[in-house]
């Protein structure tokens, strides 16, 4: 006979914290760090003629690892020492990487502070400002407008084409769809300068005969399209299959299923895909360099004359040796980064949830809608019960009459 202990009678001990660092672990880390720094300073300052910050850092890090291994080995076996040392190495790779990347962004934002407080930086173009003028003259209005127009035109093409292609990959399928997926994967590898060369030879040489905002937006389109396709493809694949099957089982056509079930379910994800593509497209410099041309005036006609964008303006500003121009370049770069960060924040706000996963507010709204439906249906039944009985008895009446 098996005895099953009741869950209530079993004593429950305090929850073990399996991941928490013990006190001596922390002391090991601190001690090793102190010892590493001390040894490195000692070697570089007193014992040997070595010098230089790089060497110091290198020696400090290596000796830190050595001391840490030594300290851990006091209480643990070889396997655990290896584990601890590797954990420290992985963490330092992460710290170096994120430190460097955050530093790149922060460096631009800090250096951009010189130009950003001047309000005219956002409301004027460089039309009347010369290279020697101070920061209270001229601005990047033309570049902001150019970026917005170019990315707008690129979006007009990319959004429908990208999402339709992703729908084709997922909903239609077949051999050609697999081919399209391979090709769009290959397109993500397209070097940006090659996209610029392509648009230059296909559109500028053959059709427009001049650099223009339109040509630049076409180059951006070529770069953005595969990103949008891939991201939407992944989102559409995540839409639960039984939702589609339910729609088909109710007798809906394929198109109705996509329009009323698949697309609404995947809407936040698709929006995220588009925003991510936009963030990538906004920052493209080299294709724009070949296709749009540099200008200092506001140009709102995309088909005629050069139209500059923010990344190209940054590139153009910092080629100048004048400190004011370089300050403007950093200011424009800071605006560009803030734009990308804002887009990214919006993408995270909309996305970050699986398709069909609703927020609390959406859940309330859907609940309210189905409650209304229920009330409407009950009301119909209450108001017109004879209509229902009429239809129910209808076939019998026909039978008797025939």
């Amino acid at each position: 006979m098996t005895f099953i202990p009741s869950p209530d009678s079993a004593p429950i001990g305090p929850r073990r914290r399996v991941r928490a660092a013990r006190l001596d672990d922390r002391f090991n880390l601190l001690g090793a760090a102190a010892a590493g720094i001390a040894l490195s300073t000692l070697i570089f300052g007193w014992f040997t003629p070595l010098s230089g910050g790089v060497g110091w850092t290198l020696v400090a890090f290596v000796s830190f690892i050595g001391f840490y291994a030594l300290l851990v080995s006091n209480t643990s076996d070889f396997q655990e020492v290896k584990d601890r040392v590797m954990s420290v190495l992985l963490a330092s790779a992460g710290i170096v990487l994120f430190g460097a990347l955050v530093f790149v962004v922060a460096f631009t934002l800090v250096r951009g502070q010189e130009a950003l407080p001047h309000l005219n930086f956002f409301t004027e173009s460089m039309e009347k400002a010369g290279p020697l003028d101070g920061l209270e003259m001229g601005g990047i209005l033309h570049a902001i407008l150019g970026t917005l127009m170019q990315i707008g035109m690129a979006l007009v093409i990319t959004v429908p084409l990208g999402i339709l292609t992703a729908l084709f990959l997922n909903e239609v399928g077949g051999r050609f769809a697999r081919f399209v997926r391979t090709i769009s994967d290959a397109m993500t590898a397209l070097p940006s300068i090659v996209a610029g060369l392509f648009v230059y030879s296909a559109i500028i040489v053959l059709i427009t005969h001049q650099r223009s905002g339109f040509a630049a937006s076409m180059a951006i389109t070529v770069m953005m399209l595969p990103i949008v396709i891939r991201a939407s493809d992944i989102v559409l694949r995540l839409v639960a299959g039984n939702l589609r099957e339910a729609a088909y089982a109710l007798g809906s056509t394929r198109w109705r299923t996509i329009w009323h079930v698949v697309l609404p379910t995947a809407r936040p994800g698709l929006a995220t895909a588009v925003i991510l593509g936009t963030a990538r497209g906004i920052g493209e410099t080299s294709p724009v360099l070949l296709t749009s041309g540099v200008t200092a005036v506001v140009n709102t006609n995309p088909f005629e004359g050069p139209m500059i964008s923010l990344p190209l303006q940054v590139f153009d500003f910092v080629k100048s040796p004048e400190p004011n121009m370089i300050a403007r370049g950093f200011g424009a770069a800071a605006v560009l980064i803030l734009l990308v960060l804002a887009l990214f924040a919006i993408a995270r706000l909309i996305g970050g949830r699986a398709p069909g996963d609703l927020t609390a507010r959406q859940q309330r709204r859907v609940g309210a809608a189905s409650l209304r439906d229920l009330q409407r249906i009950t009301l119909q039944h209450l108001n017109a019960p004879n209509v229902i009985t009429q239809t129910a008895t209808d076939p019998h009446q026909k039978e008797s009459s025939s």
Binding site: R19, G55, Q79, E80, K82, D83, M86, S87, L89, L90, A91, A93, G94, L97, F98, L101, V102, V104, F107, T108, R111, L161, L164, T165, L167, F168, A177, F179, V180, S184, D185, A186, M187, A189, L190, P191, S192, V194, L197, Y200, S201, A202, L225, R254, W255, A279, I282, T285, S286, L289, L290, P311, V314, V318, G329, A333, L336, I337, F344, R348
Partner: protein, 352 residues
């Protein structure tokens, strides 16, 4: 006991009417399979053709890139012939041009970038997938994604205005203590060692470090995805056998993610080969093969195009197109290989 009650029921005298449903239990076997083809509705066929067209346009754009580049490049390739790959000098006006030196520079910069990127990406990917937990993990994933969206011109700015000045002590330190390795030697034409600061600033090394930081996000996210697909059962088995976390990573995660590591590295290499603006801003262009990676002076195919497109004659432009075509084909081959390796590693075949 239940058997004996069932059996008489089948062989009972009432079996004659019983056997009829037995044969009719599968009435479809005699008939042909129903064809499940129906006439598509108008909206469906419209949708199908529109979606098909969209896919077709996407393919057409990609093919057009290759076709246009090939057509435009044919002039220059016809003149240069095979020497296009061996000639170092770039002067299309005098009909002597080739991409040997710029191709060498491209590959050097990309390899240095991979030396920076791969250890960082591998460490970070393992950190995110194995060590970090909960909120920290999702924050790190977001950061990596965000960094992939930072415009390359921003990295270029950082490279020019911060790294170029601060790379001098690093590069001179390496060249002083590791100068006996041929790559790291920095010498002038007569072979004497250089210690002048300007000899170190605009080198392939500087450009490689910046490009390396730019490709880390791509590589990291590919590797992380591969690592996160390591089977949970095998992880738990490793822990149950008494392995430490690193032991588990060695025994389960790394072998399972090998395809992801290789694929991520190659994808990063493809990106690094094609990077334009950051390289253009940092290097000082030369047209000879420079083995000393720490020494100022290098070039890359994309930087060459960005540098020369403005002042080129029609024939010069054709030569640039030819260079672009070579770059295009090179990245295409690398990325196709990479994505097929990544796709194959997803099947889970290696776990058996």
């Amino acid at each position: 006991m239940p058997r004996s009650t069932l059996l008489p029921a089948r062989t009972a005298p009432a079996g004659a009417p019983d056997s009829a449903p037995d044969t009719e239990a599968f009435p479809f076997e005699k008939e042909r399979r129903r064809a499940l083809v129906s006439r598509p509705s108008v909206s469906d066929s419209v949708f199908r053709s529109v979606a098909f067209t969209a896919g077709g346009i996407t393919v057409a754009i990609m093919l057009a890139v290759g076709v246009f580049l090939s057509i435009r490049a044919s002039d220059a390739l016809g003149v240069a012939g095979f020497s296009f790959l061996t000639e170092q000098v770039w002067s299309p006006e005098s009909r002597t041009f080739g991409i040997a030196s710029v191709l060498f520079g491209t590959v050097t910069i990309a390899l240095i970038a991979m030396c920076v990127a791969v250890p960082l990406a591998l460490g970070t990917a393992l950190l995110i997938s194995e060590v970090a937990q909960g909120r920290l993990r999702s924050t790190l994933v977001t950061l990596v994604d965000l960094m992939a969206a930072v415009p390359s011109v921003v990295f270029g700015l950082w490279g020019v205005f911060f790294l170029q000045a601060n790379v001098i002590p690093v590069a001179s330190w390496i060249s002083t203590y590791f100068g006996w390795i041929p790559f790291f030697r920095v010498s002038d034409a007569s072979g004497a060692a250089l210690s002048d600061a300007s000899a170190f600033t605009s080198s392939a090394f500087t450009a490689g470090v910046v490009v390396g930081l730019m490709v880390v996000p791509t590589t990291t996210s590919v590797m992380r995805e591969a690592f996160s697909q390591a089977p949970i059962g095998e992880r738990e088995a490793a822990f149950a056998l008494g392995s430490t976390r690193w032991g588990m990573i060695r025994a389960v995660v790394l072998p399972f993610g090998r395809g992801g590591i290789i694929g991520g590295t190659m994808l990063g290499l493809g990106r690094a080969l094609g990077e334009t603006i950051a390289v253009y801003m940092i290097i000082s262009p030369i047209f000879t093969i420079n083995w000393q990676v720490l020494k100022t002076g290098s070039n890359s195919v994309s930087a060459l195009i960005a540098l020369r497109y403005g002042e080129s004659s029609e024939f010069g432009l054709s030569a640039l197109m030819a260079a672009g075509l070579v770059l295009f084909l090179m990245t295409l081959v690398i990325n196709f290989t990479a994505s097929s390796i990544v796709a194959r590693s997803r099947s889970g075949a290696e776990s058996n």
